[in-house]
Symmetry: C2
Subunit: 373 residues, 2 copies
């Protein structure tokens, strides 16, 4: 043992990976612009802003992974000349380009909403004709948490949409899927090809940012097998090692894949306390070549993001079965700066706990109108 894992990125995902790695005597190093990042408390941060940074980072560890989905492929190519990266480059390249991603879903027969590539005003007009309205126009690369997107509801928005997103050159137009809810599935694949899957999370957003996840997703027993099947196809096709996330829409026609993230995911933070082995520990185990841990749920859980502004810790921790995770980030509107996990003994308490929490949080919790989850 005593491996060192080098991680591209040094945000809260890296922080929680390193927290999981420490009891296994696995050290982490981080490649990150901001050396005062959330991961800094747990390992050496090598600045990505210096000329020698990447070489230093490559020399700092035995095996490599990432928490930053937009890790430059050029950096990866330099790294993989001498060291191994998990997940594989192809997974990263695919996730960085919505058109490649959709093509992979098609290839593996994973259902997606109808879509079309857009690279000109004319092709956008064509997409509106073919797919109908409303549709969502997205940049093929970049964009997250609702940024880089335009929802087209009428034909007279076509020029505005093109003016806003057109400069990105490569766009994708997607049919506006009518879905009852959004879920995500997270799975891990070991170096020996073993796959383990956590139960589906039901995800709720507020202004395009994840507000909270409920796990297991209510009434999801019938959805779980298809979701597991889809993510397993992706993992095996990509010869993937580590944790992969697949976001899905629940529609009347069944599950539609939205996008994949080649990394641990916000909708899997519940697993730190709620599963026997968390997404972070299993990712570290996979990258280090160790056997995977059990992904069973120990208790039904709700994970709530802390966005923009911190609540009072003493108010949060007074809630029954509450766990608090602060990322050591400064407050800023729309920024994920921590999360809370609720796992009361009696899961019927989850709704009332969320209501209590909604009163404490400085930023709204996206509960339904009747304040249920």
């Amino acid at each position: 043992m005593n491996k060192t894992i080098g991680i591209f990125g040094g945000g809260q995902l890296g922080r929680m990976m390193a927290q999981a790695a420490l009891p296994l005597n696995i050290q982490c190093t981080f490649y990150e612009a901001d050396t005062d990042c959330p991961s800094a408390a747990l390992g050496q941060v090598i600045s990505s802003q210096t000329e020698q940074g990447l070489q230093q980072f490559i020399q700092s560890a035995d095996v490599f992974s990432l928490e930053f989905e937009n890790t430059p492929l050029a950096d990866v190519d330099l790294l993989t000349q001498s060291k191994a990266l998990h997940p594989p480059r192809q997974a990263l390249a695919t996730a960085q380009n919505r058109l490649m991603e959709k093509a992979l879903f098609d290839q593996l027969q994973i259902p997606v909403a109808p879509y079309q590539a857009v690279d000109s005003l004319a092709s956008l007009q064509q997409a509106v004709t073919t797919l109908g309205l409303p549709l969502v126009l997205k940049t093929a690369t970049g964009g997250y948490d609702g940024k880089g997107q335009f929802v087209l509801r009428s034909e007279d928005q076509i020029e505005q949409a093109w003016a806003e997103l057109g400069p990105a050159k490569s766009l994708i137009a997607e049919s506006f899927v009518t879905f009852s809810r959004e879920v995500s599935i997270i799975a891990v694949r070991g170096q020996d090809g073993e796959v383990k899957t956590w139960p589906l999370a039901e995800n709720h957003h507020h202004h395009g940012i994840l507000s909270h996840s409920i796990v297991p997703a209510p009434n999801s027993v019938d959805l779980q097998p298809a979701a597991q099947d889809y993510i397993t196809r992706l993992l095996n096709h990509l010869n993937y090692v580590g944790v992969l996330t697949l976001e899905l829409f629940v529609t009347e026609q069944g599950l539609f894949a939205n996008e994949m993230a080649p990394r641990v995911h916000n909708s899997g933070h519940w697993s730190i306390e709620g599963a026997v082995c968390s997404q972070f520990e299993n990712h570290i185990r996979a990258v280090a070549g160790l056997p995977l841990g059990s992904t069973e749920v120990v208790r039904p859980t709700v994970m709530i993001n802390i966005i923009g502004q911190y609540p009072k810790s003493e108010q949060v921790l007074a809630l029954n079965g509450a766990h608090l995770h602060l990322y050591n980030k400064t407050e800023r509107a729309g920024r994920k700066i921590g999360h809370i996990t609720l796992m009361p003994n009696d899961s019927s308490q989850l709704t009332s706990l969320c209501r209590q929490l909604a009163k404490i949080l400085p930023v709204p919790l996206a509960l339904s109108e009747d304040m249920t989850i």
Copy 2:
């Protein structure tokens, strides 16, 4: 928030405290002779070997605690001139002296085995007459993991026992209690006086060192109320803040207190995964003045110490529901260098998992003769 907690000691207990503190954005500093100690990965270690060390340590944090039971009282006295220490000095002083400890148990009507103070060969002979044989002679101060003890089985051992332990000046002779098993109870008391208790652990030793703990202790439902009552008396009497451990013998006359430890305890390591809130997190919460977390068990658990020599991580992690905690200590006979937590979905698997583990561990696991737990 953003409090810093200064901890006397920097071993694995400090390491696991700091691991629990980190998600709460609480930093730890450590006062320790060996700056390359297990806690070093998680916070500043201030050397106790330098002249300015203690003053530096006192300035390094807002509030103080300890993981080292033999923290010198003189250091505590200097500290408490300007800063608060949890647990209180009196708890530490009492736990450092077996005679004071027994006197406190007597005062609070917590049953103990008959005992007598010994400070001369004559008083040892007197104790043998009064208490009968066999008896255990122990130094009143110092000694742990079976060191500083002599089991007297016949009168002709009196001189040998006195020769070995007499130089310590202050000794205690205890009746050799016939007990069916040893259990321990761990509780935490907050700054508002709230007390929470984990279920009893059943502890098994090998050569005087804890081998493994089973939680909840089998057939302990009838014992739990008395144990909780005893530890609550201690906590309230001492106006204690933080985690306290009470070791008990199960005898035909009921529970007898053996000793208390004014700190998190090896027999509570299971709680990292097996309880909603671990002993480490609750200790940190109490010291920081935060509300306490739930001490409920999420699954029956066996915690096994790794003593002297590391097993292969990949063999341990292949066991269903196994968690591995390595302390980053070098291997040495009789030294606690890590622990393993087993918490399978089906608790009837615990025995078979322990049998598998016994084959993997380089150092014997103290299973019963039929290899059951």
